[in-house]
Symmetry: C2
Subunit: 337 residues, 2 copies
């Protein structure tokens, strides 16, 4: 199809000198005379020569590509993080090879394998919601392939991770609800094996305790992050003799589903039930009522993850988790008039 790209050989032929001289001239090697150097560089510029990354990669044993695996591409949370990673990577001359696990561990494993086949220099990953075993990542570690996790993390004793302060984030939510006079705070959590779930549950328990609220096991429900499930749970709570007066959930999906269900049933937010989500600016601001939510520093997460990635490249023994703080953006859905 495409015409062949220009190579050193082409330049060398045109100038009637050897390939190695051209190569050296382009890198300003002192062995090469100023005249030839100039002639070569001028021609390269005029003809728009760029070195062939395949050849370089073969030689240097690197592709300058980072594999990025996310649960999905369309959720704002992930696309924003990807955007951050991409920006930082680009500044270092690296490209991103994107793969989606579609929240499935099988496809996650497949993605790891595909990226490996593509010879990426390393990977930045957010676990799928199903991921409760990690052999596919252990294999990477054993082969000393740089790896970084973000948000949903594991193996953090060996792998650099970027996470938010999940416990603190939930305590902030409890605090805010408590201040507004809400008493029975319900939490739709995620799959138990995910760090974001149990860290947030920890925050839920410690938060309740801290503010002298009673823990009712009925009001803590794990879920698989599906809309129908969230609606189902909401229904069950509303059927309780003592239903909750506040609900928060583990992500956008879940909490918007709750809001819609409450609205369908004519339950007023925030008067009857206060609602808080983990959502992004755009969604939260344009919903009605505007949604109080924990704001993730998404772009920062991406940039930090990329930063750790390069650190890991330089120092294979590097690990440790960077914890970023969240901010509770208080809007209408949790503030009674």
């Amino acid at each position: 199809m495409a015409k062949r790209h220009l190579s050193l050989k082409d330049l060398a032929t045109e100038l009637n000198i050897s390939i190695s001289t051209v190569s050296r001239a382009l890198r300003n090697h002192p062995d090469i005379s100023p005249e030839i150097t100039k002639k070569v560089q001028d021609l390269a510029l005029a003809k728009n020569y760029t070195p062939n990354p395949l050849a370089m990669g073969l030689l240097k044993q690197e592709t300058r590509m980072i594999g990025v695996i996310v649960p999905d591409l369309v959720t704002h949370f992930y696309s924003s993080i990807i955007s951050g990673i991409e920006e930082f990577a680009k500044s270092r001359g690296y490209f991103i090879l994107l793969a989606s696990s579609y929240e499935s561990i099988e496809r996650e494993i497949e993605s790891v394998s595909n990226l490996l086949k593509a010879r990426v220099d390393g990977m930045i990953v957010c676990l799928s919601k199903e991921t409760d075993r990690f052999e596919h990542f252990v294999r990477l570690i054993e082969n000393e392939i740089p790896l970084v996790f973000f948000d949903r993390i594991c193996l953090d004793d060996q792998v650099p991770c970027v996470a938010i302060d999940n416990k603190d984030a939930v305590e902030k939510i409890i605090h805010h609800f408590h201040e507004g006079g809400y008493q029975r705070i319900a939490f739709i959590s995620g799959p138990a094996h995910l760090n974001i779930s149990h860290d947030r549950v920890a925050g839920y328990l410690s938060g309740l305790k801290k503010y002298g609220l009673v823990f009712d096991p009925v009001l803590l429900r794990p879920c698989n992050m599906l809309i129908d499930e969230a609606i189902q749970i909401t229904d069950e709570w509303l059927a309780l003799p003592e239903p909750p007066d506040a609900i928060f959930g583990i992500n956008d999906m879940v909490i918007f589903a709750v809001m819609q269900e409450l609205r369908t049933r004519g339950i007023k937010i925030p008067e009857e039930i206060g609602v808080i989500g983990f959502a992004d600016e755009f969604h939260a601001s344009f919903s009605t009522p505007q949604l109080t939510s924990t704001m993730h520093p998404t772009r920062e997460i991406g940039i930090k993850a990329a930063e750790l990635f390069f650190k890991k490249m330089d120092d294979p023994s590097f690990s440790g988790t960077v914890v970023l703080q969240t901010k509770l953006a208080i809007r209408e859905s949790s503030v009674r008039k």
Copy 2:
């Protein structure tokens, strides 16, 4: 850093045969005896050998990577299309190299250049909103590098394109408003040089005519797709002696800004002003009131774009625009009770 990947040489050394024999054995070449073939394949499987794409690329003059340039990564519209492209590409054994133009023509040009340096086999692109000159793409065409545009397109006499039926989409909107008794329909369009703008304007004009509505130039405003601008335009319309009774806009951003402004001013949707957007399911369904909107077949756009890409690879002379139909999802924001 990472340990070297396994190569044919490693297998050859281990089996005490030549590299070429290993290569042939893996591809079931008839010249190789069944015993050796089996031995090689077993070892390759056991050791998890995968061919080095850099070497293959160098040899075959292809990278099996497609460069994808979008205005941004975080808008659902684009991420969903990317997801579609990725899926189709993966099924063909291709990877995607992602780049964002951030709606800037300079960064778009830079991205084209970066992807070229990375030696992608071709590109799939959605123009930035600023893009009103196309030399950077003409250069690709001249070098016979496969190129496909989607949504915001140009050079469609030489480049395969995927677009939606913009004119028809807007006519549907006008039709629906008209049926609901709305008379003064206002349209916040986009930059004049984009096809999506002028095609939709064409639909606006033909739609008004078709349904016997008067065209008032004041109610057709181009904008640069910024929130503040949309709010500003809304304000100006509301200050008119005869304000519009229906508004639709060129994308999510714009129309949510309008809704928020109307809400701030206590103007009832859809009773006083009907509103329709070009938005995605998720946003539209969870807003209040639920937003009537033109649904893009985003995933299909992505898949189709990828399909055309491969067609273009096979046949360099191929071009032509595939037009996909939209559907107007009627929800609350445009239906008076």
